[in-house]
């Protein structure tokens, strides 16, 4: 309640003096942007796959604070990443590092796509080869037929 009154008083004061020296243009500092960039790569460990930038959890808030404090002390983004890795392990990163057994994860989809594509290509070629060239092709489907008829009508 007290806070409300205070806020209303402040608001009234500001409204009555619209362009007083109180108003300021606020902007992000370089530090803010750096904090955001780093925070987006770190996982909020108590949330469901959320990074500490997007999460509203208290732990995420404190981790953002740690990132900011360390940046102020002159640590590089790499140092900060190393620090969190040394406390929480790979789990803290939003994506698994691309080394060791994790190659399975990173390369898996592309291996599947290439392998599947190659397999499919061979199969299709094989099927085409085994299919006898049919002189009496069955009637093409309706939309094609309609179109052909139309084209025929137009030509005639």
């Amino acid at each position: 309640m007290l806070m409300m009154i205070r806020l209303i008083v402040t608001a009234l004061f500001i409204l009555s003096t619209p362009w007083s020296g109180l108003a300021e243009v606020q902007d992000e500092t370089l530090l803010d942007i750096q904090v955001r960039e780093i925070a987006k790569t770190l996982r909020c460990t108590v949330c469901q796959t959320e990074n500490i930038w997007e999460s509203g959890a208290p732990l995420a808030q404190q981790m953002r604070g740690v990132v900011r404090d360390r940046l102020k002390l002159g640590h590089s983004p790499e140092d900060i990443k190393e620090y969190f890795l040394s406390r929480y392990g790979d789990y803290i990163m939003m994506q698994p590092p691309a080394h060791g057994v994790n190659w399975f994860l990173w390369a898996g989809p592309f291996v599947l796509l290439l392998g599947g594509g190659l397999f499919l290509y061979k199969e299709v070629i094989g099927w085409v080869r085994r299919t006898p060239a049919s002189p009496t092709a069955p009637p093409p489907p309706l939309d094609e037929k309609a179109r052909q008829r139309l084209e025929h009508e137009l030509e005639s």
Binding site: V46, L59, Q62, M63, G65, V66, F84, S86, R87, G89
Partner: protein, 186 residues
């Protein structure tokens, strides 16, 4: 469908369900910590009750048990009695120290909690959450055992009750106090 396709299908399905089955029993609290065997961060913070600074530095050379807790945490209430019991068990050993770390809490709530449930050892406050992050804490309660060389020997997420109590007292703290090696779980 060829025989090999059929076999692959069956194997994939079996593998999948084995995985799901294992996943069911996988303890979500079991988080392999990278901290085991590393130097324990020498953190410090004000005492919850007196406000005096407590620093881990001053307990160097002793076996230290760190217990992270909060007044809003249900599982902390669950483990409270057995944590006090644990302290009773070892408090006469001059080489044993137990420190509570109050995490993400309001000071009056924490003080009220200690008054209500009682305590026999000191608790430091984690004012900015920095302590918890230094120890890679996920949530409360979490318990750490630090050996005489200042290395983290054991970590447990969850209430120290039942067989965990037995394990921590008999297999971790007691041997450490006697200077015996303990098997470090991964």
């Amino acid at each position: 469908m060829t025989k090999s396709t059929q076999l692959t299908l069956v194997l994939v399905l079996l593998g999948l369900f084995y995985l799901f089955y294992e996943g069911l029993w996988g303890n979500p609290r079991h988080i392999p910590t990278v901290l085991i065997g590393t130097d324990a961060p020498m953190v410090e913070g004000p005492d919850v009750e007196t406000g005096e600074m407590i620093s881990l530095e001053q307990f160097k050379g002793k076996v230290v048990l760190l217990n992270f807790w909060a007044s809003w945490c249900y599982e902390c209430k669950v483990e409270h009695e057995s944590v006090l019991e644990l302290h009773r068990l070892f408090k006469d050993d001059p080489n044993f120290v137990m420190i509570g770390v109050n995490y993400q809490d309001k000071l009056p709530d924490a003080q009220q909690y200690l008054k209500e449930y009682g305590t026999t050892f000191a608790h430091m406050r984690d004012v900015k959450g920095q302590l918890a992050i230094d120890y890679g804490v996920y949530g409360v309660p979490e318990t750490f055992v630090i050996d005489q060389q200042g290395k983290i020997r054991y970590k447990y997420v969850g209430p120290v009750t039942g067989h965990m109590y037995t394990k921590i007292t008999q297999e971790i703290i007691a041997p450490l106090l006697k200077g015996q090696p303990v098997s470090t779980p991964s």
